[in-house]
């Protein structure tokens, strides 16, 4: 029961962050570790800043 609640909370946070254009940090770190072990792993703050800037660079992204 408890693990299910934790998982649900994790999903909610993930959805909320993604809706603001911030992908899941843990997923990114895991991805870097498995596929690009030579690269430096950014801190959450660095990761957040980079994604925040990236969100408003492209076109579209929101509706009227």
């Amino acid at each position: 029961m408890n693990t299910k609640l934790v998982q649900l909370w994790h999903r909610l946070v993930q959805t909320a962050r993604l809706s603001c254009g911030i992908p899941d940090y843990d997923v990114y770190v895991t991805h870097l570790r498995t596929h690009h072990p030579e690269r430096k792993i950014p801190t959450y703050a660095e990761f957040f800043r980079e994604r925040q800037a990236a969100r408003y660079k492209g076109t579209g992204g929101r509706c009227c």
Binding site: R11, H31, F48, C63
Partner: protein, 694 residues
């Protein structure tokens, strides 16, 4: 090829669906046939749920299996190009939440409110059937096409499937649509804040609040979005509560009391500065706040409707289907289908369905839920907005949404005029409503937001009574819409700026660099100038602006939807699945017919921009002044504005026709071909990609 298994439905499942169908049909019957006595909003909610469930289960699945032939065993872009950032296989509920947050905006809350002037029935039917057969089909099919093409954008797919020139044409159409969207949304804010110190104060407070949040997120607690949003929310609610004090203190109230013209200039100035500032300082924090507030408000509205279960006071069909309505001109066909764009069919969604979402889906089998299901949710929001408007006293509704040129500027005059239309209302009722919501007046506040705010305030007040609570909820609803729209204006100006720089880069290469300050300021000025022109024009328009601009917006939005559906039609033929060409083909044709008819009526005929411009020009030549112009300069302005609007309408029509031409040509070529000619990426089995389980 592996496709989704089509196992026969069990008896229990069949029984459940028959019951849902019967409930839906019964509710629709009540809505359509009950005359003379008000019906309860719950009938509408139940009918919508039944129609959406059936549409999702049967039509959505039909499209998934036959037309798009979605294949859960095929590796999607998120797996093939997994980079942990943009392309990430993500849980389907998370993708759904993200997609819905991206597509739901102010549009579905405004259009249905305006369309309520024709009664609740036409709008309801168009939303229910428009979304099942058109809007959700568009979103789902564009998503389905994009996921098979490495998550390419709509523009990219148009270039590939219809040719490079078609892509350029669509790019210009998109820019024009963007400018109209920004102008009309900014105008909604202007209309809501005109001579409303309370509203203006609380909206102005969002700027320092956002700056504070930006600094907090940057230096104090980097990346703690949820935490900072909660702080922001508390500050916002405080500013609404304090706004009552501002409105009640004459010295303070004067500082925040503006007319439409002044507000338009303030918004134009704001739009410029906001979009050249770094994103982390103002745009991003406000974006977070408005995203959460939007979802929260939609949930609040749903709860309010379910618990208050209001009766609909608006007639099912009003006399204004004949085209003489005060809110917008034009007959039911085609103008109802132009007025309610978002919520039934929204062209803008094709940008999102070919943007982030296809990069996140973990497999093709989830595209129906996100694409088709997400749009059904938005249609549900539109139905709720329609209920909020239709549950208002019709007299109050028309007082709020009719231009002052028709109902005058006093409650006595307005009440007399509206009662003559057959919606009996007393001056006292109008004054009392204004008093209840803590405003000095409610007349001629077109644009949807104030009407929805009053409707919402009354619903919430019904379930949570309390002294002055209605005024609080009214200003909460206004603040929510304004916050959301300001974010769109800011982000939209940036996007518009990049589009302009891209176009300018074709002429002079260095202008393309988004890092260059000169290019930045120049393109931002052009962009703000473009939407600002229409905003200013709307704010001084004697007919209230929304009357003129909303049809232009509707035509532009449906034009984009038509283009997206034409692409889907062409690709269906190119895949040699032409027996299903009618699936995207019928809504595409319907939208082309609607936009062209509406465009034509706005170009020639009694309600056209051209005729208005000519009438004023003739009067001016004869040396006469025509109401509501008070001098020759105003006469000249009306003539110019109408000519500009007419030109823009002609451009939109030309765009639709050009894209039609390209589509028909591509379709005929593909029809004759014996092999599929669509540009799909080759199939890679999900099981063959390392670390993936189907």
């Amino acid at each position: 090829m592996e496709t989704i298994a089509t196992r026969p439905a069990g008896v229990a499942s069949k029984v459940v669906w028959v019951i849902i169908a019967i409930i839906g049909a019964a509710c629709l019957g009540v809505i359509a046939l009950r005359r003379g006595e008000p019906i309860n909003a719950i009938w509408l909610v139940a009918a919508a749920v039944a129609v959406f469930l059936i549409g999702y289960r049967f039509y959505g699945r039909f499209i998934e299996l036959r037309v798009l032939q979605m294949d859960p065993g095929r590796a999607p872009p998120s797996v093939l190009h997994n980079d942990g950032l943009d392309y990430v296989p993500t849980d389907k509920w998370v993708v759904f939440g993200h997609h819905f947050a991206a597509i739901a905006g102010a549009g579905p809350l405004v259009g249905p409110v305006l369309a309520a002037q024709m009664g609740y029935l036409p709008g309801t039917l168009w939303i229910l059937f428009g979304v099942v057969l058109g809007g959700a089909v568009q979103d789902f099919m564009v998503l389905g096409l994009s996921i098979r093409r490495d998550a390419r954008s709509l523009g990219h797919m148009l270039r590939e499937e219809l040719g490079p020139f078609a892509g350029v044409v669509a790019m210009f159409g998109l820019l024009a649509l963007m400018m109209i969207v920004l102008a009309v949304l900014a105008l909604v804010v202007v209309k809501a804040l005109t001579h409303s110190p309370w509203g203006t104060f609380s909206v102005a407070c969002t700027i320092p609040i956002a700056l504070l949040m930006g600094i907090y997120l940057r230096w104090l607690r980097p990346g703690r979005i949820l935490e900072v949003s909660l702080i922001g929310l508390v500050l916002l609610l405080t500013s609404i509560a304090y706004g009552a004090h501002v409105a009640a203190t004459p010295v303070l109230a004067n500082l925040f009391d503006f007319d439409a013209k002044a507000l338009a200039w303030l918004l134009i100035g704001y739009g410029f500065f906001a979009s050249v500032l770094p994103v982390w300082l103002l745009l991003a924090p406000r974006d977070y706040l408005s995203t959460f507030l939007k979802i929260g408000t939609i949930v609040l509205l749903a709860v309010a409707i379910l618990f208050a279960a209001p009766d609909l006071q608006m007639p099912a069909v009003s006399r204004f289907i004949d085209g003489t309505g005060p809110v917008f001109q034009g007959q039911l066909f085609p103008f109802l289908f132009i007025t309610i764009a978002c919520g039934a069919v929204s062209g803008w969604h094709s940008i999102i369905a070919s943007g982030t979402t296809p990069k996140l889906l973990a497999n093709e089998g989830q595209a129906r839920m996100v694409g088709y299901g997400g749009m059904l949710m938005e249609a549900f929001v539109a139905i709720m907005a329609l209920i909020a408007a239709a549950s208002l006293h019709p007299g109050v509704y028309f007082a709020m949404n009719s231009p002052s040129a028709l109902i005058g500027t006093t409650v006595e005059h307005a009440a007399a005029t509206i009662s003559q239309w057959g919606f009996v209302v007393t001056p006292d009722e109008l004054s009392r409503t204004a008093h209840d919501i803590g405003e000095t007046g409610i007349l001629s506040r077109a644009g949807g937001a104030p009407t929805l705010a009053v409707g919402m305030a009354q619903l919430l007040h019904n379930i949570m009574p309390g002294e002055r609570m209605m005024a609080f909820w009214y200003h909460y609803a206004i603040l929510f819409e304004a916050l959301f729209i300001l974010t769109t204006v800011d982000a939209g100006t940036r996007v518009g700026r990049f589009m302009i720089q891209e176009i300018a880069g074709l002429v002079h290469e260095p202008l393309k660099s988004t890092e260059s300050w000169i290019g930045n300021v120049l393109a931002t000025s052009i962009c703000v100038g473009l939407w600002g022109y229409f905003l200013y024009q709307g704010s001084v328009d004697p007919l209230g602006g929304i009357n003129t601009l909303w049809p232009l917006f509707g035509i532009a939005n449906q034009m984009l939807a038509a283009i997206a559906l034409m692409l889907a039609t062409v690709v269906t033929v190119k895949l040699k699945r032409q027996r299903y060409v009618w699936v995207p083909g019928i809504p595409a044709t319907w939208l082309v017919v609607c936009t062209l008819t509406a465009g034509w009526e706005k170009l020639s005929g009694p309600i056209s921009f051209t005729v208005a411009s000519q009438t004023y020009a003739q009067a001016m030549q004869a040396g006469k002044l025509m109401a509501p112009a008070k001098n020759l300069a105003e006469m000249q302005r009306i003539i110019t504005n109408n000519s500009v609007d007419a030109t823009l309408t002609a451009v939109f029509m030309l765009l639709v026709l050009t894209m039609c031409g390209f589509s028909i040509y591509a379709m005929m070529k593909a029809w004759r071909s014996h092999i599929p000619t669509a540009h799909e990426a080759p199939r890679v089995a999900l099981t063959s990609v390392a670390g993936q389980t189907p």
